[in-house]
């Protein structure tokens, strides 16, 4: 019944008082709260290296980056959605959809047409979500959770439940996106890097990027400043779909065949990477650079677990633990303490 909380009493947010709160955060708990992820990551690295010296091998590192590329590309788009104050849980099943569609169309209309057709179809799915969340202002958790299931159904209907394979695996150039090298760099990594650089610029340097931060930071104030909130949210979902389509392209090209469930569960890993990078689930903060860091941390931890000799399936549990840890530290960093009775 006692309702004296720091926020309520802090009705007079003055410079000086804020300075005090910030300074008072310089305790060990406060340090952990702010840098906890990096501290935890350092411990992981040290532990893995002791357990298996191959962990820091350049080949292993390259392998981790390469296998993180698909997840990373998807995380770039989700970063926009999360900064705008929304969620996207549909990216995993949407990636399955893109992969299946592009493989199917490859044989029907050839790769040159299949790729743009797949991008167009995936963007349509993104537009539907963007319309529902942006213009109709429906809760993004519900919309994208529903889409996760709906798109999965769509994919299965499309493929008739069968796996999809390219018939002539030897005779197509389609494998270049997943298996090719350019100047010694694997194409998936190149695509990830280029997309990260491009989207990083969009987010950090363009008026649109600024609007994404404003809409996620305070949607009402953004509206009162003449920012078209609905259009910004809509565009963020289009960006997410664009990234998903790219990820689907890499996935399809890498294996030239796929199951219907290839992207299943990726939505949580993507979200974990984005949060790990420090984007707040409340919206308004995060950067592309940080997301890339988050993707790499997640990749190295999963790789480390395998090298240490744990079963592959353990990583599902670990991913969950990492999400919880990241969300906890996000809140803790805001209040400057790991635990607090108030707020």
């Amino acid at each position: 019944m006692s309702n004296i909380s720091g926020n309520q009493m802090g009705g007079f947010g003055s410079l000086k008082e804020e300075a005090m709160t910030r300074l008072s955060k310089s305790s060990i708990g406060g340090f952990l709260a702010r840098q906890g992820i990096l501290v935890a990551f350092a411990f992981f690295i040290i532990g893995f290296t002791i357990a298996n010296e191959r962990f820091l091998d350049p080949d292993n590192i390259m392998g981790v980056v390469r296998s993180s590329a698909i997840l990373g590309v998807m995380a770039l788009g989700v970063t926009f959605v999360v900064i705008s104050g929304n969620l996207d849980l549909s990216v995993g099943s949407m990636m399955s959809f893109s992969t299946i569609v592009v493989l199917d169309l490859h044989d029907k209309i050839g790769p040159t047409l299949a790729i743009p057709a797949m991008f167009a179809m995936t963007l349509c799915l993104g537009a539907i979500i963007g319309f529902l969340v942006g213009y109709l202002k429906l809760n993004s958790l519900i919309v994208t959770l529903g889409m996760l299931s709906a798109i999965h159904g769509l994919t299965l209907t499309y493929s008739g439940g069968k796996n999809m394979d390219i018939s002539d695996k030897e005779g197509t150039w389609f494998g270049v996106f997943g298996q090719g090298d350019l100047l010694g760099i694997p194409v998936p990594i190149l695509l990830f890097a280029l997309l990260a650089a491009f989207l990083g610029m969009v987010l950090a340097k363009t008026p649109f990027g600024r609007k994404v931060y404003a809409v996620g930071g305070n949607g009402v104030a953004a509206t009162f400043s003449g920012i078209p909130r609905a259009r910004v949210v809509f565009t963020c979902y289009l960006m997410s779909a664009l990234c998903v389509a790219t990820a689907g392209l890499i996935q399809a090209s890498r294996s030239l065949g796929s199951q219907n469930t290839v992207g299943q569960g990726l939505e949580l890993e993507v979200l974990a990477a984005v949060i790990l990078g420090g984007a707040s689930l409340l919206g308004g903060s995060g950067t592309i650079f940080k997301t890339v860091i988050g993707v790499l941390i997640l990749g190295f931890i999963q790789n480390g677990l395998l090298l240490v000799g744990l079963q592959f399936y353990v990583q599902y549990v670990v991913t969950w633990i990492i999400i919880i840890l990241a969300v906890w530290l996000d809140i803790a960093a805001k209040r400057g303490k790991l635990w607090s009775q108030i707020a």
Partner: protein
């Protein structure tokens, strides 16, 4: 005067944060049955002092004495059990629960098997509510109550404990004048039962109406206690800010230009009806009325946030329809909204980004934001409005209320609007910044802006307006010029007493 034991006494309280001495040897006491104002500019240490009193912060030195007993406040619960009760500026009620549940939350009366004894709960609650003479009962859902009535629920909650001292933190910030009267009655009632009251407010007229003594903090230091009956506003202000303040009715007039905005017979559902007025360039028109009189809704309609159900809007003599805020901004209308933190600013963004937000699409170098132009705009308005911030990178959430409001004003001035609407421009802002903002509004008029000021504070409306529009229940009752207006006829108009309309 006989020696009495204070209800609450603070002695030599020292609280430091790394690098800052937030409270420097602060002492003061509240006698039983006394209303004691605690004043000071934002950042003077009032909040910190209250947090010490509420058990949130532990002081390094000094002690707190309740009655005869020296206590150590370790938690908010502890404070409450000692009879120290806080009524917060921002309310902390569960909107979905009933009034009774909110009041007895955590200590609901029980029957056997731990079931809630609803009959007893409602009976107890209604008894308290009767004492407060409120117009709602124990079963009402709190979310259905007005802000003022929600505050009454908080007060009712305070009455369930044996309060020695009650702290009111800006209680009238969102109350109408009529609601204030009820609040002051309740305070007088508490007073007559020997409760000591600490009253924190920026509003001088209230302080002088209801308090017995005034204690002033400045920069974390106790600056002295004045007896209200023996002092005046100037003396208190000087103690608070160390300089004189200018508080008078507007007498300056500028050369007026053409009619920048005209509204004819505008209505919007049940919110306001048949509203007509004109604002000329160089003119400040004040809209005065009770909360809920429809003033903010008119502003929101002019800014494209609401669709009018009837009537027309003319800009520079041309009839126009305003579809959205984007449209309003394009047509030269700017709105400094009522809720600074909720509507005016993105608190997590920096000063510069907030200021340039509405024109971000126009500040481009190729595809990118021209950050140099942005900084130039920020610097220009920081200097012009005297915004005190370490730099443009500072998060807006870290600034004081006055500086935050200046950022919002700067944001709109940099758009060079034809019509500037400011809704409650100085709510929750300290005295110094308040008068700066008032002067600024007059200056803007002098520069040829058409300005609409919406305010619930009469001194503010009197101080800045060339003409004052009095609203009551969604209608314009009267329009006064600043020469003819008197406090009495203004109060009558906004209470719906007179209906004669001046031109």
């Amino acid at each position: 005067m006989t020696e009495q034991t204070p209800a609450l006494r603070l002695e030599g309280i020292v609280k430091t944060f790394p690098g800052v001495r937030a409270l420097d040897n602060v002492s003061f006491s509240v006698m039983p049955g006394e209303v004691h104002a605690l004043m000071g500019e934002n950042g003077a240490g009032k909040s910190t002092l209250m947090k010490v009193l509420g058990g949130i912060y532990q002081p390094e030195e000094g002690r707190i004495v309740v009655g005869e007993e020296s206590v150590v406040m370790t938690s908010p619960l502890e404070a409450k059990s000692k009879g120290i009760v806080f009524i917060h500026q921002e309310l902390s009620l569960a909107e979905e629960l009933s009034v009774a549940e909110n009041i007895y939350l955590g200590e609901l009366p029980r029957k056997r098997f731990g079931l809630v004894d609803w009959d007893r709960l409602y009976a107890q609650t209604d008894e308290i509510l009767q004492k407060l003479k409120v117009g709602f009962d124990a079963r009402t859902r709190v979310g259905d109550l007005s802000i003022a009535n929600q505050q009454m629920v908080e007060i009712a909650r305070a009455l369930t404990v044996d309060a020695k001292a009650v702290i009111f933190d800006e209680p009238t910030a969102s109350l109408t004048d009529a609601e204030k009267v009820v609040l002051f009655d309740v305070i007088a009632d508490l007073q007559s039962h020997g409760v000591g009251i600490i009253y924190i407010s920026h509003r001088m007229e209230e302080i002088f109406k209801i308090t017995d003594r005034i204690s002033v903090l400045r920069d974390g230091q106790y600056r002295g206690t004045l007896t209200t009956a023996e002092t005046n506003e100037d003396e208190v202000t000087q103690l608070m800010i160390g300089r004189k303040l200018d508080l008078r009715r507007n007498v300056s007039h500028h050369e007026l230009g053409g009619v920048a905005i005209e509204v004819r017979n505008l209505s919007c559902g049940d919110l306001f009806h048949d509203v007509s007025f004109k604002v000329r360039r160089g003119e400040v028109v004040g809209f005065y009325g009770l909360v809920g009189a429809g003033r903010t809704e008119i502003a929101e309609t002019l800014f494209g946030l609401r669709e009018p159900s009837a009537g027309t809007i003319l800009l520079d003599g041309e009839e126009t329809v305003i579809h959205s805020p984007i449209d309003a901004i394009a047509k030269g209308i700017s709105l400094v909204p009522e809720d600074r933190k909720g509507q005016g600013l993105v608190l997590g963004m920096n000063c510069r980004d907030n200021m340039t937000l509405p024109q971000i699409d126009d500040l481009k170098a190729g595809p990118f934001v021209a950050e140099g132009s942005e900084i130039a705009i920020f610097d220009q308005y920081r200097d012009r409005l005297d915004i005190r911030t370490p730099g443009w990178k500072q998060q807006v959430g870290n600034l004081s209320g006055g500086n935050q409001q200046k950022i919002v004003i700067g944001k709109w001035l940099s758009m060079h609007p034809n019509v500037l609407i400011v809704d409650e421009p100085t709510r929750g802002i300290d005295v110094g910044s308040k008068s700066e903002i008032h002067n600024l509004i007059r200056e803007l008029a002098a520069q040829g802006y058409a300005v609409i000021v919406i305010s619930s504070e009469m001194p503010e409306v009197l101080h800045v307006s060339d003409r004052i529009v009095a609203m009551y229940s969604g209608r314009i009752m009267c329009t006064f010029t600043s020469e003819e207006v008197t406090e009495d006829n203004l109060i009558q108009a906004i209470s719906g007493i007179t209906t004669d309309t001046a031109a």
